[in-house]
Amino acid sequence: MTVLLDKTPLGARVRIARIDWTAMSEAEGRRLREFGLMEGCEVTPLHRGSIFSRDPLALTVGRMKVIIRARQAAAIELEPAA
């Protein structure tokens, strides 16, 4: 069973197995890669929205903390971190 980034529990380090680039626009995909979010990298999801909504998602990539929407996170498949 594949685990997607928008559903995974907060605080646990995970590795990105696959990203469905077709699920987002060209520009969104490029920005994800510019953030360093690509196949093989390890991330830690940390915060999810507020009481208004469970969107967006804040996660760490390397030494950076970035924000993406749940819609993009749903295109990111995970595997357990090494």
Partner: protein, 621 residues
């Protein structure tokens, strides 16, 4: 060697500390304008080499790569490639990288290095990297990249002389080569950046936990929001209470200048024009400078500390529900100071429909120009007492409610617009969260000074011109001695206002307001100076009456219902030529500004009407 002053561009990722470095290098010698044809801010400044030769520095918008997503990122690409209209290609680049985030920032640096311009890398915010447990080898990094690397700490002015010397050296020793591409794919570019970063990092302690502990509270689904609203509340309370002594001092200053002119200059047309027109009008607006600066002070502080992005994160869920994104939070929050920079800041929103909606609702955020109007009416009609036994002031509470009505109105309008005229896909929201840092006093002071200057220039030009024209309209023709009408009623302006009065009478507006509404089209705060001018004309040479506070005069003439309706009107009314002009420029045509003006006037009329009728029904008429 050419005689022209070399131009050097500062370029790098967002949050690399570029602007602080730019401020440290140029001091207050800065010039802010727009790139021709686009509305991206061009920040340029002067600095000099060690031997005194001048150089011109430009601070380019932060971006992640040479493939732009938004308008300001496109400017960065075009300038470094020499394709930007009206800007020559920089003679050298200073690539600013965050020492604590080399993995990521080196990707863009490698892309820029492949352009083969004379280049120096500023390894910036080294102190923060050390705080985070990183030890870096700048010489090793320089060998890996093949260009000089200078460690800098902009805030402590560390490394600035070395940086300037390295730029000089890079320009002198540069051998032009064919520009190439950094890497063929994003993945290989990242891999190379990571390899270089690993080589340059001597020692790496685990990431310090305190930032995460702070974020656990600040970004908490409930506590974070409570904190955000508390901060906003304190901010608006402070705007009201801190500014009072300064505003009072300015007010009495203007008053004594007026009296001095009356005492020293013989009575003539010019003296009346200066005292009743210019000083009364401009003075009434300049008095609000302290409040505007306090508001900007808070916004700049939140931005510089890294909190603003957290606020955007918290608000994104709510803004997403009305079809906007957290990205719009910063432009909208800036609109609290002024809708013009707010609308300009929407360029950072990549989605076109999202951006258009944000532009259309930006004027609903209570801008600083409304402050003079709100302050005047609130201090005249709302008693300065505490609510119940709490330390919350009633005046501050009313002000808070006015801000809140604007926000709620904006959200409802966005909801309707996103389902009708700006229908489209759900907007995206991707942002980097900067680390927390202490705001630098120097950066805040420079930014505050720039805002104050913009405001004073406006007061000195548009507002001064409008008040003089208004004074002329209200002073002529002179009322005959045997006529029972006042000078204001008898004048050209008074007669135009009488026509307008017919339309606004049903919503409780009187003749005073009708007179103020016309010139207030130029800028909202002119409504106050217009009333001050009209008041000064009626007061004539009666010094006692002239020095009366405008608020006291209004108190005697208006009912509470009228005052409240007037406040409600200003929550919505699109009375600002600059906002309409900037919207035209940002949306490339008259369609959207006209739409904006139409819907806002309709809302203003309805809101003022409802307020007035409700207040009258409650017996406040």
């Amino acid at each position: 060697m050419t005689a022209a002053i070399p131009s050097i561009a500062l370029v790098g990722n967002p949050n690399a500390g570029k602007s602080s470095l730019f401020n440290a290098l140029t001091g207050a010698r800065q010039k802010i304008a727009n790139y021709p044809g686009v509305t991206v801010e061009r920040k340029a400044g002067q600095a000099s080499f060690a031997d005194g030769r001048p150089m011109s520095l430009i601070d380019l918008p932060g971006t992640y790569s040479l493939t732009p997503v938004s308008l300001d990122e496109a400017v960065t690409r075009d300038v470094v490639l020499g394709r930007q209209e009206g800007e020559k290609r920089p003679d050298a680049l200073i690539i600013v990288v965050d020492a604590a985030n080399l993995d990521n920032h080196l990707c863009f640096a490698l892309e820029l290095l492949a352009l083969n311009l004379p280049t120096v890398v500023a390894l910036n915010m080294l102190d923060l990297a050390e705080r985070d447990g990183l030890t870096l080898d700048a010489d090793r990094l320089a060998r890996e990249l093949g260009v000089p690397v200078v460690p800098t700490v902009a805030v402590r002015k560390r490394g600035l002389a070395e940086l300037v010397a390295a730029v000089d050296g890079a320009i002198q020793s540069h051998r032009p080569r064919e520009a190439g591409a950094a890497e063929s794919t994003d993945a290989s570019l990242h891999a190379r950046a990571r390899t270089i970063a690993r080589a340059a990092i001597v020692d790496e302690a685990p990431v310090r936990r305190w930032t995460q502990r702070v974020d656990n509270v600040v970004l908490h689904p409930v506590a974070g929001l409570v904190l955000l609203f508390a901060l906003m509340f304190v901010m608006f309370q402070a705007v009201f209470s801190w500014a009072t002594p300064f505003a009072d001092a300015l007010e009495s200053g203007v008053g004594s200048v007026q009296l001095w002119v009356v005492d020293t200059v013989p009575a003539n047309f010019l003296r009346d024009l200066v005292v009743e027109g210019l000083l009364a009008g401009v003075g009434a607006v300049v008095v609000f400078l302290p409040q505007i600066l306090i508001l900007f002070f808070f916004i700049l502080l939140l931005e510089a500390s890294g909190y603003m992005t957290r606020a955007a994160f918290l608000m994104d869920g709510l803004m997403g529900k009305v079809g906007l994104s957290g990205r719009g939070f910063i432009p909208l929050l800036s609109s609290f100071a002024c809708a013009v920079p707010g609308i300009m800041a929407t360029r950072a929103i990549p989605d076109e429909k999202d951006r258009l909606t944000t532009i259309l609702i930006a004027p609903l955020m209570t801008c600083s120009a409304r402050m003079p109007v709100y302050t005047l009416i609130i201090s005249a009609f709302i008693p300065a007492r505490q609510v119940g036994g709490t330390p919350i002031g009633l005046q501050g509470l009313v002000l808070f409610c006015l801000f809140l009505s604007g926000i709620v109105g904006a959200m409802l309008v966005a909801l309707v617009l996103r389902r009708s005229v700006t229908k489209g896909n759900a907007a995206g929201f991707m942002m980097e969260m900067p680390r927390y840092q202490w705001p630098r006093a120097n950066d805040i002071v420079i930014a505050l000074w720039q805002r104050a200057w913009i405001f004073l220039r406006r007061a000195g030009t548009i507002i001064a011109a409008t008040t003089v024209v208004l004074w002329l309209l209200l002073s002529f023709p002179r009322v005959p001695a045997d006529n029972g009408l006042s000078q204001v009623e008898y004048s050209v302006g008074g007669r135009i206002a009488s026509g307008l009065e017919v339309i606004v009478e049903p919503i409780g507006f009187n003749h005073d307001i009708a007179v103020a509404l016309i010139p207030a089209m130029a800028a909202r705060e002119v409504a106050v100076s217009a009333m001050a001018t009209a008041n000064a004309i009626d007061a004539g040479d009666d010094e006692q009456k002239m020095s009366d506070q405008l608020g006291d005069t209004l108190q005697g003439k208006w009912s509470l219902a009228t005052a409240l309706a007037f406040l409600a009107w200003f929550v919505f009314a699109p009375q600002c030529i600059s906002t309409i002009a900037i919207t035209r420029r940002e949306t490339n045509g008259w369609k959207w500004p006209m739409f904006m003006v139409g819907y806002l006037f309709a809302l203003a009329y309805v809101a003022a009407g409802i307020t007035y009728w409700t207040a009258v029904a409650l017996g406040l008429g």
